[in-house]
Symmetry: none
Subunit: 143 residues, 2 copies
DNA sequence: TTGCGTGCAAAGGTTTTGCATGGCA
DNA sequence: TGCCATGCAAAACCTTTGCACGCAA
């Protein structure tokens, strides 16, 4: 389970590059598919799903399910292993992904493990909510 | 935005009552439908969806989507705003959704809010990981 | 050549919509 | 009576799976 993660194909490269290029936001399978279709280099949705799934397993990409109708959202998270050691905050409004390194969360991990028998997966787990600036905008502004 | 939210029907009463009775946990549309079917007082899924949608708009019921395949989960929240103290644990292996009410998490909420400026959304946030039994099976058994 | 990668088609699931009927006010 | 509520059927949607073909190694 190391370097040989399969063949190097055009589709694989294209999808990975797309995810990297759009790493500042999250994207849906439809967006990716539409993008490739517009480029003339159409890629089947099945292939997109399969590659995304692998990337999620590898830890390069994060998957979020916001709404059943919207479909899943994916976002490139990078190769860095350090991301395994902390948690992430995802703003529901602007979509920003915040990396949170905090000893409080280590404690949380231990607590949930010892008290509730549940082994948290920090990589997979994402905290949803409102980031500071969006909270300000929401409380101070219009509807 | 007050009393006259439509007619008072058997189905409406039944669904609301069901949500209140099960307010300590989250339910899916399928669960509600199956329950009524078992009672002999079958209610169409369409009706369930429509009432749930209204209740969500009114703010009485919370909706959150864990997984596109599983479908949405609903939970009665009442009129009170302070139902912020419970989170959900989702096992990545068997898929079970655990309802976790724990004062530790209330503390976590306050900490992330005051120290990191992030307002957590407990209804959308789901902790992924391995539940006790799956962890046992994984460490002790086969593949 | 071998075996994974690809993409079409179909199946699986949840959710929504159209429409005729039924029930509340 | 008038109008909303109901529920069946069908559609729309995202996602997964089966299978034959293509392509990387």
């Amino acid at each position: 389970m190391s370097g040989s993660n399969g063949y190097k194909t055009k589709q694989r490269e294209a999808i990975l590059q797309y995810m990297i290029d759009h790493r500042t936001s999250h994207v849906t399978v439809n967006q990716i598919s539409d993008y490739f279709a517009a480029q003339g280099a159409s890629v089947g949705v099945t292939t997109i799903y399969r590659h995304l799934e692998k990337l999620v397993e590898q830890g390069c990409v994060r998957k979020y399910t916001v709404d059943a109708q919207t479909g899943a959202c994916f976002q490139y998270a990078g190769q860095e292993k350090r991301c395994r050691e902390h948690f992430h905050l995802k703003c529901e409004r602007c979509g920003v992904l915040i990396h949170l390194e905090c000893s409080h969360l280590d404690e949380l991990y231990r607590h949930i493990y010892s008290e509730h028998g549940f082994e948290l997966d920090p990589f997979r787990t994402v905290f949803y909510g409102l980031c500071r600036s969006c909270r300000m905008a929401e409380h101070g502004g219009n509807t």
